[in-house]
Amino acid sequence: MNPLELAGARPEPAFTVTFDDRELQALPGWTVAAALWAAGITSWRTTRRDGRPRGIFCGIGVCFDCLVTVNDRPNQRACLVAVRPGDVIRTQEGTGHAD
């Protein structure tokens, strides 16, 4: 049993997004975090002091640990932002702002 079977899901067709130039398949309705998790990716940010990897933590938009760069916009919460066809998702380093 997987969750899709458990819930009797009949998803609409999948679409493609990229994460650090790698192509991933995503389902309509997924968040960015769900698309990354489904592809086995658990971290998509490095911290600004120690450069440590981070991914999802609270899962409900409170902790801001899952910040990620989507379509060149840094500091998006992966657990809240819906993934859209063609999204370019990148690992966010530090503040997410280049300089």
Binding site: R48, N75, G94, T95, H97, A98, D99
Partner: protein
């Protein structure tokens, strides 16, 4: 902060010091400040002299404590958006130069060399290389620690003890008496209340200020940058809300955005209109901030005196009582000089600066 500096310099002058605070270290206005050590916003006169003395002392302390207190000799840039503003600014800078301040006129086309992200269209500015920044709460905590003074936090002063002859001999607190032949009132915005316990009046009023804090950013704002009208706001006596943009980066990453001034008593409630005005001012100076997010605000109460000068020195109305308060928005910067001068007079010496303009009883005399 001022109390911490008084403790440090008094202890270094060989005095036995107890530091009493009803809250924690940096629990009052210090913990709500931006940590400005400025000469740029001061007109020539006694406050500027105190600022120059303080700056010299801060530089000495920075050799001891610099990184621990996030000491940054970053300099300040004051910008004008109209020719009249620039003329006034350059006029002030010329007077300041004559009083010993380093001030460099910056033409419009060179502003972005100093601050690459400044808005286009500004008429010019002045660079003040001596302006500095410190993390105020860390500074206060480290000065207290360096002073080795007895730290009595969480103790409220409820009375000032006097001898039969009227001389001050210590303070009463809610947790016992503390005896001392000299008492320094460094209670900031609440100094008027402490003075009242000694039976003297000191007209200190709260002047509320909000600071907006952004998300952490890479270093994009290099100096403390503010608009020329800030100086006029600081010097104003109005109780109504005034805001003029003051923008600076911090070592930790967030950009701090000030500055608002209003006299509304000790009202701690958040004001969205003030936050909006601060955001509008800052984004006008630095358009890149439009996309940056504000994470929080904090507020504090500057100790405002009617003539914008602090009270520093002995109080003839209560022998043994000294005041070191009423620095309005400049308390962090002026703390070292204030502490140094207080230590000099406590030690029986001649203070390095003439304290006449700072006499605590000056308002009473004027009233008479």
């Amino acid at each position: 902060m001022v109390g911490a500096a008084c403790a440090l310099y008094a202890a270094r002058a060989g005095l036995d010091v107890a530091l009493v605070d009803r809250g924690p270290v940096a629990g009052g206005t210090t913990g709500a400040g931006e940590g400005n050590l400025l000469v740029s916003d001061k007109e020539p006169g006694p406050e500027l002299e105190l600022a120059l003395l303080s700056l010299r002392l801060w530089d000495e302390l920075a050799d001891e404590l610099g990184p621990a207190v996030e000491y940054e000799p970053k300099g300040g840039v004051v910008v004008a958006s109209a020719p009249e503003g620039l003329a006034a600014l350059e006029g002030l800078a010329a007077e300041q130069r004559a009083a010993g301040v380093e001030a460099v006129d910056v033409p419009a086309n060179r502003l972005r060399d100093l601050e690459p992200h400044l808005a286009p269209g500004l008429t010019g500015g002045v660079l003040y290389p001596q302006d500095r920044q410190v993390m105020p709460a860390l500074a206060a905590a480290h000065l207290v620690r360096a002073s080795r003074a007895r730290l009595l936090t969480g103790r409220t002063v409820t009375g000032v003890l006097r001898t039969r002859q009227g001389a001050v001999r210590g303070v009463r607190t809610d947790r016992g008496d503390v005896h001392a032949p000299a008492v320094v009132n460094a209670a900031g915005t609440w100094s008027g209340e402490v003075a009242a316990l000694a039976g003297v009046t000191l007209p200190v009023l709260p002047r509320r200020g909000f600071v907006l804090v952004t998300e952490p950013l890479p270093p994009r704002v290099r100096h403390k940058v503010y608009a020329a009208d800030y100086v006029a706001d600081v010097a104003s006596d109005s109780a109504a809300l005034q805001t003029s943009p003051v923008v600076e980066g911090t070592a930790a990453g967030p950009v701090l955005i000030g500055a608002s001034r209003e006299r509304v008593g000790f009202d701690r409630s958040f004001s969205l209109p003030v936050a909006r005005a601060l955001a509008a001012g800052a984004t006008r100076l630095f358009p890149f901030l439009e996309q940056v997010r504000a994470m929080r605000t904090y507020l504090g109460f500057r100790p405002y005196m009617p003539d914008h000068l602090p009270a520093v020195g002995p109080d003839p109305r209560a022998p043994g009582l000294y005041h070191a308060c009423g620095h309005e928005g400049a308390g962090i910067g002026l703390s070292t000089g204030t502490g140094h001068l207080i230590a000099q007079i406590l030690g029986g010496g001649r203070p390095e600066l003439d304290l006449t303009p700072f006499r605590p009883e000056r308002f009473e005399q004027e009233a008479v």
